[in-house]
């Protein structure tokens, strides 16, 4: 990627569409592979993006996942129309989960989603309005 290059990808993520859940993250992962990002960074981006995507699928009506890349960093933004998070600090605690039995049957709801995002991203910002939705911004440094 040359110094001024910038790549932007955007995906619509549908709530409760478990058959397609994870597709956007896999596509982002493939793109990063094609442009030669290191395997270690790709894995961190993919895990964080997948957790954020699953949160949209499980909790929200719909969301938009955006991936912006330049030679310095990768920024993943996931903005959803959903119930929002009342207590972000509590949601960040490992093991805390509001998942329903149906979500657990899908293999999610261990209370590791947001903590997993935090441990993989270099920077994480979450803003949320109860009843409207949540915006998760993750930054991964490349240099």
């Amino acid at each position: 990627m040359a110094a001024n290059d910038r790549l932007v990808q955007e995906y619509i993520v549908k709530g409760w569409d478990f058959s397609r859940a994870g597709e956007a993250s896999c596509e982002i992962k493939n793109t990063l592979k094609q442009i030669g990002i290191s395997a270690e960074v790709i894995r961190r981006v993919a895990i964080a993006a997948y957790e954020a995507e699953m949160n949209v699928v499980m909790y929200a009506r719909q969301g938009i996942m955006r991936c912006e890349m330049d030679p310095q960093q990768i920024i993943i933004t996931v903005e959803d129309e959903g119930p929002g998070i009342a207590d972000i600090e509590l949601a960040m605690q490992e093991g805390y989960s509001t998942a329903t039995p149906e979500m657990r049957e899908m293999g999610f709801g261990a209370g590791m989603g947001l903590p997993n995002i935090k441990r993989n991203a270099d920077l994480l910002d979450i803003s949320s309005t109860v009843g409207r939705g949540t915006k998760v911004t993750m930054i991964f440094r490349l240099s």
């Binding site: 994870g22 993919a46 293999g107 261990a110």
Partner: protein
């Protein structure tokens, strides 16, 4: 340990006919919750699970795992096997319960990702 040795150890059946079982497995992770897998696997891990849906395969793709062993004789639906074939993800099924499957593999030197276990068991305990 290779996937072929995993298959033999667990007396498992290969569900994805044309999979390459010469692939090396460096560690293993056993869980039914996929976020736990994402938190505790390393690349080239084997996933041992009772979860047979699409999210298992997505987790394999995301976490760079090398294959899946379904325990307790749980078989995924045909469309999941078809997807795994398309993505070249080897799927095995064993009748052993998760604990026993893990024990058999551990006994052969396949450890998990907790660093301390390697320290406790030494070089001969973990591959």
């Amino acid at each position: 340990m290779t996937l072929a040795e995993v298959k033999e150890t667990l007396q498992a059946e290969l569900l994805t006919g044309d999979s390459d079982l010469s692939t090396e497995v460096s560690s293993a992770c056993a869980a039914d919750m996929m976020s736990d897998v994402l938190a505790y696997t390393e690349p080239a891990s084997l996933l041992i699970t009772g979860l047979t849906n699409q999210q298992t395969l997505r987790t394999v793709e995301i976490a760079d795992a090398v294959g899946v062993v379904f325990v307790r004789g749980k078989r995924p639906p045909a469309e999941i096997i078809a997807y795994a074939n398309e993505k070249k993800i080897p799927l095995l099924v064993t009748d052993f319960c998760m604990y026993d499957a893990c024990g058999l593999l551990f006994k052969k030197g396949l450890c998990g990702t907790t660093r301390r276990v390697r320290k406790i068991l030494g070089k001969d305990g973990c591959q």
